[in-house]
């Protein structure tokens, strides 16, 4: 029968245990240095705790093994037999710690990745909002300047008509040899010249609307629906379009209206369960274009519906609460109106009324 000596096992065990302990001690030193350099680096923090756990395991196992051989050689094998269960327990505990550290940091990593993704999404959203805000500001400035110019022209035109009218009447009532006739004629000519000037100024102010152009609302809706086609297909919703057969031409900002429509349609898609229906209809009512977006979604209670246009009010997780505010601002800039009607369980209808011709701000008309 073959028999093999046990001393190679003992030597390998003693020397190996001592070396394992030394290597892990070097690891701890190395990681401690790296963690001190970057104390907020999650990866190094994980590696630090993992290495500490490994070192704990190395200590418990190596010291146990060395102690076992030394006591056996010294003839105190019974002491080791007494301590053996404790050493085994420590080893198990060390492995438990290693597993806990790995599992804990694994979950932290998932949370961290989600946080990073949310942060990126927030950055993209805030950039979009900033850009939209910039456009809105430019549009408001342009619009205000146009309105001020039109208001001024209107204010000058009325007294000018009176001056012109009276100077013509004065001209008719004065004799040909009256020296005042020349003065009245000069006043009438200058008033006429001023009237022409005001007309030209007014025409220029009306034309100076870089942000608005003659557009067909139906085409804007078609473009927006094309843009959202993939999202509609994914959501498995039935899309019903009832667009006016006549083109709905008005002075509109195509880009901003597309943003507003896309936001309203996305809201409808989110609120409507699969196989639900979204209806988009357009029509002309006197001088107004009317657009209705109706869904068969979950709807909103009255207390939510009345707050949807309030800045930063949101019921979505991760929402900014600014989408509907921008939608209303875009409609306002077109001098239009937006109405929202919603019932819990039966869906929501958003109606937008946009004037088809250039109109002045309500307060200026009043003046």
């Amino acid at each position: 029968m073959i028999s093999l000596p046990l001393f190679p096992i003992w030597i390998v065990d003693i020397v190996g245990s001592a070396l394992v302990l030394m290597v892990f001690w070097q690891c701890v030193k190395l990681v401690r240095k790296a963690t001190r350099q970057e104390p907020e680096n999650a990866l190094w923090l994980f590696i630090f705790w993992l290495t500490v756990a490994f070192f704990f395991f190395a200590c418990s196992r190596s010291i146990g093994h060395i102690f076992r051989h030394l006591t056996t050689f010294a003839g105190y094998g019974s002491i080791w037999e007494m301590l053996r269960p404790f050493s085994g327990g420590l080893n198990t505990m060390a492995f438990l710690i290693i597993s806990t550290v790995i599992l804990f940091f694994h979950h932290i990593q998932r949370l961290y990745q989600r946080m990073v993704a949310n942060h990126c999404q927030l950055e993209i959203t805030s950039k979009g909002i900033l850009e939209l805000n910039r456009q809105m500001e430019a549009l408001v400035i342009e619009r205000t300047m146009s309105e001020m110019a039109l208001g001024m022209a209107d204010g000058i035109r009325n007294p000018l008509h009176i001056i012109g009218g009276f100077s013509h009447r004065l001209l008719r009532k004065t004799d040909a040899d009256d020296p005042a006739r020349t003065w009245a004629a000069a006043i009438a000519t200058e008033a006429k010249r001023l009237e022409h000037l005001v007309e030209r100024f007014e025409a220029l102010a009306q034309k100076k609307e870089a942000f608005f152009s003659r557009e067909d609302l139906n085409n804007i809706i078609k473009d927006t629906l094309n843009m959202l086609q993939m999202e509609f297909e994914k959501s498995q919703l039935r899309l019903v379009t009832e667009l006016s057969p006549r083109p709905i031409l008005g002075r509109l900002n195509k880009h901003l209206l597309k943003i507003a429509l896309a936001h309203l349609l996305r809201n409808s898609m989110e609120a409507t369960p699969p196989h639900g229906e979204i209806r988009i209809a357009t029509s002309i009512e006197r001088d107004y274009a009317v657009l209705v977006i109706q869904d068969t979604g979950r709807g909103m209670p009255a207390e939510v519906a009345e707050k949807v246009f309030t800045p930063f009010y949101t019921t979505k997780i991760g929402g900014t609460g600014l989408g509907m505010v921008f939608v209303r601002q875009i409609v306002d800039e077109h001098r239009g109106d937006i109405f929202l009607q919603s019932n819990v369980g039966s869906g929501t209808a958003v109606t937008i009324k946009l004037p088809l011709r250039f109109v002045e701000a309500k307060q200026i008309i009043k003046e």
Binding site: M1, V23, A34, F73
Partner: protein, 84 residues
């Protein structure tokens, strides 16, 4: 680091096999006095062979520790220089 992880898995399997193979071995399979350098193990079955060679587990554990150390060093260097 991948090598270290692979070797640690192998070492765990080795350890498990070592403990399982030790079960049928009795004190009668050992020749010589306990604690003496001339003590020997009688290879009377496959479990004895398995026990003997799996007991030399430091040939796996030590390289695993070394690769772990090298991996950490590489990571630290990468963190310092910003290059992998």
């Amino acid at each position: 680091m991948a090598w270290a992880c692979g070797l640690l898995v192998l070492w765990n399997l080795d350890h498990l096999a070592g403990h399982l193979s030790a079960l049928p071995i009795s004190t009668l399979d050992f020749l010589g006095l306990e604690g003496h350098l001339n003590q020997r193990l009688v290879m009377s079955g496959p479990s004895h062979w398995i026990y003997y060679f799996t007991s030399l587990d430091h040939f796996i554990l030590l390289p695993a520790c070394y690769f772990f150390y090298r991996g950490l060093k590489a990571l630290a260097r990468e963190a310092e220089t910003g290059r992998p």
